[in-house]
């Protein structure tokens, strides 16, 4: 009965109804798309940062993140690996040794991050191998791959032999020549313009870093279950008092914080927009309901209770909301899905992001059932709320007073 009355009312004022449904549908589509794009870009940013170098789980000496010096290295790497290597859920692990070196060609000298890696395992933990033009590293030779921009600054090319000076673990001078085997371009400014990779076996001889590492990177079999794996590793290493096990959120603290701040500002902007939309829809409903004061007065005069009137008007909001999320939600989901499959290419704007340390050439959208449900539920709620105030207002009127209204 109530539902029938609500449907009749909706069809009785087609213009108002179509305006409300159009506006709500547009908002539903916009919200689904906006949340999809925001989530998509943030996920891409995180995934890039994790998979291009930093990794999902890291074992390191306590305080290494703040002071990555030689006093905060792991000096018993093999002992730790022996403890954890049989833990179920670990797909692969690798060790890295990071330091700084002054690279010098015939003409120029530049400081660079000097990273010693296990060449055969590195492809599971970073994009470096796939970003190399030329060949990757050998296990024990003094081969190196350089960031393409660093090579340009040093004025060296593939096959070149720049020298480097650094500090060994005994604080003696570590210096040698490296043969450039390939140049890499990851899109990450810091790497491309300031990093050099060599094999760990080679570096161990020069830096005296055998069995020493800056950290051990762990690749989980199921990346979604990184927290469970982190807990297992922590438990296994509980006797190593100065060792900590971090997950990607703890490793990339700054990035996680930046993404959170970006999300907060984004949601504040969209909240302001939807507050305006909410008032517009409410105003529409207010006008529409108030113009029906006489009709509602008659209904009240012939004995219809306040509660039935309120329920009828709320049912209208319910129907509007339902229509909006069906039409708008589907449209938003379709657009989001389209941009998930065909990410937006940002072209030269990506260069600006690279300066900030992000590799961005495209922004994909992400559509997940959870986010879709949150978006459409919000629009649905907005529609219900926007009829509650006018319905409450009109119910306050005396039936006789209401009949007299035009």
């Amino acid at each position: 009965m109530i539902f029938k009355m609500a449907v009749r009312n909706i069809f009785a004022n087609k213009l108002r109804s179509s305006l409300i449904v159009s506006l709500s549908s547009f908002c539903a589509a916009l919200l689904v798309f906006y949340i999809g794009m925001t989530e998509g870009s943030h996920r891409k940013m995180m995934k890039d940062a994790i998979e291009s170098y930093s990794g999902y789980i890291r074992i390191q000496y306590k305080g290494f993140s703040d002071n990555p010096d030689y006093d905060h290295l792991i000096y018993d790497t093999s002992e730790i690996i022996d403890k954890i290597k049989d833990i179920r859920g670990i797909r692969n692990y690798t060790t890295r040794f990071e330091t700084y070196a002054l690279l010098s060609s015939e003409n120029n000298s530049f400081p660079a991050m000097f990273v010693a890696v296990e060449p055969e395992k590195e492809e599971y933990f970073s994009d470096i191998k796939h970003s190399v033009e030329g060949k990757f590293l050998n296990k024990d030779e003094n081969y190196a791959v350089l960031g393409a921009d660093l090579a340009k600054k040093l004025d060296v090319t593939e096959g070149g032999k720049p020298a480097y000076i650094s500090t060994g673990l005994d604080y003696s001078i570590a210096a040698d020549f490296i043969k450039i085997r390939g140049l890499f371009k990851t899109g990450f400014y810091d790497f491309d313009s300031g990093a050099v990779f060599v094999s760990k076996e080679y570096a161990d001889n020069i830096f005296m870093s055998k069995n020493v590492s800056s950290y051990i990177n762990i690749l989980p079999e199921d990346i979604g279950k990184y927290k469970e794996l982190q807990a297992k590793i922590q438990e296994r290493l509980r006797n190593f008092k100065n060792i900590e096990v971090l997950n990607w959120r703890e490793i990339q603290k700054e990035l996680v914080k930046a993404v959170q701040i970006d999300s907060i500002f984004g949601y504040i902007t969209i909240a302001i927009f939807f507050t305006v939309v909410f008032f517009v829809i409410m105003l529409f409903n207010m006008v529409a309901i108030m113009t029906r004061s006489r009709e509602i007065g008659v209904l009240r005069a012939i004995g219809t209770s306040k509660s039935v009137v309120f329920k009828t008007l709320t049912a209208e909001g319910f129907i509007f909301g339902l229509l909006s999320i069906i039409i708008g939600g589907s449209a938003g989901a379709f657009i989001t899905y389209y941009f998930q499959e065909n990410p937006i290419q940002i072209g030269e704007y990506g260069e600006a992001y690279k300066e900030l340390g992000f590799s961005f050439t495209e922004i994909p959208a992400t559509l997940t059932p959870g986010l879709f449900m949150i978006s459409v539920s919000f629009i649905f709620l907005l529609n219900i709320l926007s009829v509650i105030i006018p319905a409450w207002q009109v119910n306050k009127l005396n039936p006789v007073e209401a009949i007299r209204k035009i």
Binding site: Y70, D71, P111, A163, D170, Y171, S172, D176
Partner: protein, 259 residues
């Protein structure tokens, strides 16, 4: 002729002695209440016109001790040259500083490398001293405003605040000078947030020719994570105002002296 020359030598010695006496009496006249003059005089005595020294640097970390021996030549505050003589692994590594520029020669790669400005704050030879410390040694006189704080048993306590736009890394230096010997006793370095980050004490102050000199320098970083670290420089031999080899402060010397 010979007599004349002997006479002129005596006259010259007398003049030098009078000059030195005047100099020391000038030093004795200095008071803590004149921090600029005290620090300037102390700085010039520490350096001399030229100097040659042989020293040993011991770096103590949580993990191990390391000893480096070196020879050093300097001319005023602008030029210095260092050659590492021990350990064998680093033997022959040379450093040249002229003004704010610094070069290094490593025999293993046979290359002279200029240290870029971005690496000036890196540790020097694994010690708690930085490249910047070697380059900017003169800044206590020129880059800071010296303020007298107190005097206790002949030790003046000064506060050195960086001049506006001065190219320095410290927020403040607390400087203690022995007014009688005109030598530093201690310097505490503060960062821009006012936290004490390192403590340099000058010990074993004794005569080195016509002046006093601290034969032992102990630098301790005060940051929590660097507890247990220290760098001790022991000066085994020091000579002032001797004539130095021609062209020693040149890039060519880096390779020549390395052999």
């Amino acid at each position: 002729m010979l007599k004349g020359s002997k006479l002129s030598m005596r006259v010259l010695s007398l003049i030098i002695s009078i000059f030195l006496l005047c100099g020391s009496s000038f030093a004795a006249d200095l008071k803590c209440s004149d921090p600029y003059s005290v620090i300037k005089k102390m700085d010039s005595l520490m350096r001399g016109l030229t100097s040659y020294s042989e020293m040993e640097m011991q770096v103590v970390t949580k993990r191990w001790k390391r000893t480096v021996k070196m020879k050093s030549w300097s001319e005023g505050s602008k030029k210095s040259f260092i050659i590492i003589t021990y350990p064998r692994k680093d033997q022959g590594v040379t450093f040249l500083r002229v003004g704010y520029d610094m070069w290094q020669y490593v025999p293993r790669i046979e290359r002279v490398i200029k240290i870029p400005p971005s690496m000036m704050l890196q540790s020097w030879m694994g010690s708690d001293f930085t490249n910047d410390d070697l380059v900017r040694e003169s800044s206590v006189v020129n880059d800071y405003i010296q303020k007298f704080i107190s005097e206790n048993n002949g030790i003046c306590r000064f506060e050195l605040i960086p001049k506006e736009n001065a190219p320095v890394v410290w927020g403040k230096i607390e400087f203690y000078v022995n007014i009688e010997k005109l030598m530093p006793e201690r310097a505490v370095y503060y960062d821009e947030n006012g936290l004490a980050v390192r403590d340099l004490s000058y010990e074993e102050i004794r005569k080195a020719g016509d002046r006093y000199y601290p034969y032992k320098w102990v630098l301790k970083p005060l940051e929590e994570d660097k507890k247990g670290r220290k760098t001790i420089i022991t000066v085994n031999k020091i000579e002032f105002d001797k004539k130095l080899e021609k062209d020693i402060f040149s890039i060519k010397s880096l390779k020549r002296f390395s052999r």
